[in-house]
Symmetry: C2
Subunit: 277 residues, 2 copies
């Protein structure tokens, strides 16, 4: 019942007013996200103020946009208008990125169902050792994109400052743990003729020689697992696999063009080179 004197609502009426279920309201109370203005000492009955309807509506909107409750708490706690707007804008930007990925996934699914788009060429070769400027960290798959461009820019700035020119496209060395656990060490490197000096996260590193089976993936990284699959199948059937981390090399990437369809990524899987190959 609505109490006409205090202007407060029972949890049931507040549920009607906000379209949040009673269970959900109790949950938000437990978390301290939306605390009723009044709680009866003996009966523990909750009473919500009319002025709390607005907060409840903001929570509902943000939940409709899949914002986590912790983030919503931050939005509500933010004193100033600017901080609030920034938090919400950041979330909307994230939603837009997810939308692009969803659209890519739909396209890629369509491709998968319509059958293979011709087996891409796989070659075997020996990679020589090379000096490089590198950044190496443990990275989770979810943060891979942000990490990659951050690290790449840092390496490029370091080379610039030391007046060193890259001697080839950037690449990464991806630990097995990254694939096994969706989180593991990744080394980003940019080949250089000479040995660079350390600066920030950037260190000089000799990328060791290795024998590999290589394939080139065309387009956005959303569909790159298909190319990995083709390479793995080839190695299982036509080569002697050996232990060692996968390498990628970014022949054409976001540094070169915003048109993802033009991207070219080389994937190298360690093998034991034989005469047959």
């Amino acid at each position: 019942m609505i109490d006409d004197v205090t202007g407060t609502l029972t949890i049931g009426d507040f549920a009607k007013a906000t379209h949040l279920s009673v269970k959900t309201l109790r949950h938000y109370h437990d978390l301290g996200l939306l605390v009723p203005t009044q709680i009866d000492a003996s009966s523990k009955y909750r009473r919500y103020g009319v002025d709390q309807i607005q907060s409840a509506q903001v929570i509902r909107r943000l939940r409709d946009l899949d914002m986590p409750l912790a983030a919503i708490g931050a939005v509500l706690d933010a004193r100033d208008y600017t901080t609030r707007s920034e938090l919400i804008a950041a979330h909307l930007a994230r939603l837009e990125r997810e939308l692009v990925e969803t659209q890519n996934a739909v396209g890629s699914l369509r491709g998968l169902l319509q059958g293979a788009s011709g087996t891409p060429t796989i070659t075997h070769r020996s990679e020589p050792a090379v000096q490089a400027a590198s950044v190496s960290t443990r990275v989770a798959r979810a943060e891979l994109g942000a990490w990659f461009y951050g690290a790449l820019r840092e390496v490029e700035a370091t080379l610039d400052a030391q007046h060193v020119l890259p001697s080839g496209p950037a690449g990464t060395i991806v630990s097995d743990a990254f694939f096994a656990d969706d989180s593991g060490e990744i080394t980003l490197f940019v080949p250089t003729g000479t040995r660079v000096a350390m600066a920030g996260r950037v260190e000089p590193r000799l990328i060791p020689s290795i024998e590999v089976a290589v394939i080139v993936h065309a387009g956005s990284h959303t569909g790159i697992d298909r190319t990995y699959g083709a390479l793995a199948a080839h190695v299982a059937n036509h080569a002697v696999a050996v232990d060692g981390p996968i390498r990628e090399r970014y022949l054409v990437s976001g540094s070169d063009t915003d048109d993802e369809r033009r991207w070219r990524t080389e994937i190298a899987w360690p093998i034991f080179l034989t005469a047959a190959s």
Copy 2:
């Protein structure tokens, strides 16, 4: 390691080939979604066939599209091509509906943050009893839209068959339980001058008289909670609330126009009419 004789991969290599984590692959095995072709009797080591890479990729794509694992299982188990395509198309249609709702939520959030769009007019009045054709069921909030149009079409078809004309716009009577639990009894009714005969789910029903505070909500139902909030606040401050279910009446709805901005929904909250009102 990849076994060149049998063409099978260890779980670690299969993870590399498919970009699914080892934990995820074990989870899919537990559920029977993706069972390794071979399991060592003593060591329990899993071995995946090269031909399983494709299935894994389909699973990954569908998970990227947030399809539940049970639904993915149904897609994989479907023998014929047509059934598969239908299941996937149905999921894509659901994604599109969610996208529309997300866009609506963004717009509605923007409105909330920019402040109230003027308090809509709230009036008090007495509703007379009326004969109606009705459908009444327990409905969950998630299936409300589908249920509403299904029930409305059934009532309209019944009136058509009995040569009865509606005497006013359709409405619903929404139990308190629906708001409290996001699931409860809802009665859809179309007022008729005369008493109709029963047919299918449709039954005749006398909608009782009631005294209410009413407000009209303009636009899509995504933002209707804001209008509910305004009405609840008004009742708390300016009226004597009484127990009884909320009613909605669809003055302009999806039956009239596809342009959601033109929709008009009347919401009636039970009160005790006084001289002051």
